[in-house]
Homo-oligomer: 230 residues x 4
C-alpha cells in the first residue's frame, strides 16, 4: 500500500486546493506517479476527499481524524467516515491539528483495525521516539518552526532528520519515516533521502507553486535518484 520513496502532498485548506483546483492538483500527482517509480499521495481538504478518491488512482489521505467512534459527535471526522469515502489512511497529529497523547493512541488503533494507513506527525526526536512506541505505519517529523518557511528541514536541521530516522529504525524498523517542513525543491527532497528519510511531506511548495507539476516532476526525479544511491 505504501510505495517508497514516498512524497505526500498536504493540500491543507489553501484556496488553491478547493474544488476543481484540488482535482487538478491530485491529477498532476497521478501523472507524475506514472512517469516516476516513486510513491505519490495527496491529502486534500476534508470536503473534497470523496471527489479526489473518485478522480485519481493514487493513495488519498485524510488530513485529520477524530478518536471517537460513530455516534453523537456533531462535526466530527471519524474513521468509519474515512473508510466509507475510500481513502487509504489519515494524517494524525499534524502540528496544525495537535492531539492529546491518549487520543493519538486511540486513533492509531482505530485506523489499524479498519485497515487504514496512519501517518503520524511529530515535531522533535523525543516525540518521534514516543510516537514510534505507538506503532503507526508512517511517521513524518516536522519541526513546526520551519513549516511554510521555505527553509528545508533537510538542510537547516539535518541532525533532526537523522536523529528521527535513528530512533524510529532502532525502536520499530517497520515504521516508515518521512520528514517535512520547508521542503521546496528536488534538492531538498534528495537531501532528506540521503539523511535516511524514506520520503517527504510537503504542502505550500507544491500547492502554491506557479507550475506545480514541473516542481513535482523535479522532486520525483531527485527522490528516485537519491533513493537508488542509498
Amino acid at each position: 500500500m505504501i510505495k517508497l520513496p514516498l512524497i505526500v502532498l498536504n493540500f491543507k485548506v489553501y484556496s488553491e486546493a478547493i474544488g476543481e483546483k484540488a482535482v487538478k492538483l491530485a491529477k498532476y500527482a497521478e501523472e507524475v506517479s506514472r512517469e516516476y517509480d516513486v510513491g505519490l499521495a495527496v491529502a486534500p481538504p476534508t470536503t473534497e476527499l470523496k471527489t479526489i478518491v473518485e478522480s485519481v488512482n493514487i493513495p488519498v489521505f485524510s488530513q485529520h481524524v477524530d478518536p471517537h467512534p460513530c455516534g453523537s459527535w456533531t462535526g466530527g471526522i471519524v474513521v468509519e467516515m474515512l473508510k466509507e469515502v475510500g481513502v487509504v489512511g489519515s494524517i494524525v497529529n499534524h502540528s496544525e491539528k495537535r492531539m492529546i497523547l491518549a487520543d493519538i493512541a486511540i486513533v492509531l488503533k482505530r485506523l489499524k483495525d479498519n485497515n487504514l494507513v496512519s501517518l503520524l506527525c511529530t515535531d522533535t526526536i523525543e516525540t518521534t521516539k514516543a510516537g514510534a512506541a505507538l506503532s503507526p505505519d508512517i511517521i513524518a517529523i516536522e519541526p513546526p518552526e520551519l513549516i511554510g518557511t521555505g527553509i528545508p528541514v533537510s538542510k537547516a536541521r539535518p541532525e533532526i532528520v537523522q536523529g528521527a530516522v535513528e530512533v524510529v529504525k532502532k525502536n520499530n524498523p517497520s515504521i516508515h519515516i518521512l520528514c517535512g517542513a520547508g521542503i521546496s525543491t528536488g534538492e531538498d527532497v534528495a537531501k532528506a533521502i540521503e539523511l535516511g528519510a524514506e520520503g517527504v511531506l510537503l504542502a505550500s511548495a507544491y500547492v502554491k507553486a506557479r507550475d506545480p507539476k514541473t516542481i513535482l516532476l523535479s522532486m520525483a526525479d531527485a527522490a528516485l535518484k537519491a533513493w537508488e544511491n542509498r
Copy 2:
C-alpha cells in the same frame, strides 16, 4: 432561503448516516418536503456534504465550520470549502462542538460575508440572548442534558423554549428560533411551535428510526398544523 416552520435533521456521525445511507436519509427528507409545505434541511457528516448537495434539492447544512480563512490549517473546515461544496450554511457551536465566544463571532461574520446561513446552537436562555447579539440567521436552543434522551425539551422544559423565543424576538426579531433536544414525535414538534419556536433541530429520533420517513411525515404534518394555528 429559510422556509418556516423549519425542521433541521442533524445526521451527526451516526453509522446510520454514512455513504449510501446518508443519501437515502436526505432523499426521504426531500420527499417529505414535496408533500408538506414545511422547511426541511439536512446536516450530513462533513465527508458526505458534496454528495448530498448533488443528490437532493433541499437545503444542506454543514455540522461545523472553523473560524479561520483559507490557509495553513491542516484538517480545518473553512467557510470557503463549504461555499465551494454548495451547502446553504452551517451549524455553529453545537454542544458537541463548542466554540470560544471570539470564534463564534468570527464564524458568523464569515458565513454572512459568503452569503451562507448560520444556525447557532445555544444551551440556555442567557447564552441565547448573548448569541442573539451576534445576529446569526437562526438560533437553536438545546439544553445539552436532554440531547439524545428522547425527553423532549418542548415538554420537559417549556419555559426554556418560551424564554429563548422571547429574548430572541425582543432583541432581534429577524433571527429565527428553533429548539432541540429530545424531539422524537410529531407531538413534540407541535408543542415546540405552540411555544413560539419556528421549528426544531433533531438527530437520533430521525437518523436511528426504524422507519425514518414515516416519522418525518408525522412531524411535518404536526408542524404544519401547529404553524397554521399559531
Copy 3:
C-alpha cells in the same frame, strides 16, 4: 466593591511578577491607591494569589477560573478555591485564556452566586454586546492584535472603545466598561476615559516597567483628572 475610575493590573505570568516581586508590584499599587482616589486592582499569578491577598488591602483578582464546581477536576481553578483564598473576583475569558460561550455563562453565574466580581474580557464590539447580555460586573474590551504592542487601543482604535461603551451602556448600564491593549502611559489612560471607558486593564507597561510605581502614579493622576472632566 468596585471604585471608579478603575485600573486593573494583570501580572500575567511574567517573570517580573513571581514571588517577592509580585508582592512588591502589588504593594506599589496599594501605595498609589492611598495617594489617588482611583480604584486599583491587581491580578497576580494563580500560585501567588493567597500571599497577595494577605499582603495588600486592594482588590485582588484571579486571572482565570474554570466553569466546573469542586470535584474531580485535577489541575482546575474553581470558584470555591478563589472564594477561600479571599480574592475579590476573577478575570474571565482573557484573550490568552479564551473560553467557550457556554462556560462563560456558567462561570459568570458561579462568580455571582459566590459574591465575587466578574471581569469579562471581549475583543470586538460584537462580542462586547454578546458579553453584556450575560451581565458580568465589568467588561474589558481588548483588541488582541494590540495586546503587548505599546500601541494604545484608546488612540489607535478609539471607535472600538466608544462602540463598546455604547453597546454596554445601552444594553445594561450597570456593567462597568474598561478597555485594554497597548495602554502604556497616563495619556493613554486619560484618552480611554475621555472615550467613555471607566478604567483600563493593563499588563506589561506596568509589570515590565523599570520604575512601575512612577508609571502607575502618572496613570492614576491622569485617570483622576480625566474622570473629573467627564
Copy 4:
C-alpha cells in the same frame, strides 16, 4: 528526592481539600510518613500550593503545569511559578487535564531543566510505552474508566499494571512506575506493589474518607509489607 514505595495523594479540587482542610490532609500524610518508612507526597489545589509547602515537610506536587515559559500567558501555570513556590515537582497529563503530545515533551524537559520531578499520567500500556520514551521521573498508569469508582486497578486490571511495569522497566529502568484508579484500601495498595508497581496515586479514597489518617496508616502499613516481600 523520591522515596519508595511511594503513595501520592491527589487532592484534586475537592471541597474537602481547600483552605484549612488542605493543610490538615497534608499534615496527616506527614504524620504517617514519620511512622512508616514509605514515601508520601501530596498534590493540593493550585491556590493552596504555597501554604502547603510551608506547612509540611513532605514532597508537594502541583496537579498540572503548562508548557510555556514565563510571559504573556494570562491564567497559565508555568514551571517557574512552581519553582518559586517550592514544590518538588508536578503531575503532568492527568486524565482530567490531558495534554497534546508535543506539550508533554516540552513540559517534561522544562521540569527537568528546573530540577523538578515529573509525574506523568498515562492511561494504557501503549501510552505508557510512549510516555517512557520521554523519560519522566515517574509514570502513573491510570485507566480513566476506573478513576473514582472504588474498583481498584490492581485487582480489576492486574494485567495493565504488570504490562505497564514491564514496558517501563524494559525501556527505561530509571523511571519509577505507579498505578492508580480505584485504589481504596491497604489491600489494593499491597496488590499494586505485588504486581511490580513502586507505589500508587490516589485521590477520593483519601480526601473524601471519614477518617483519612486511619486509611492512610493502613495503606502505608500494607505498602511497606508488600515492598519488603518483593
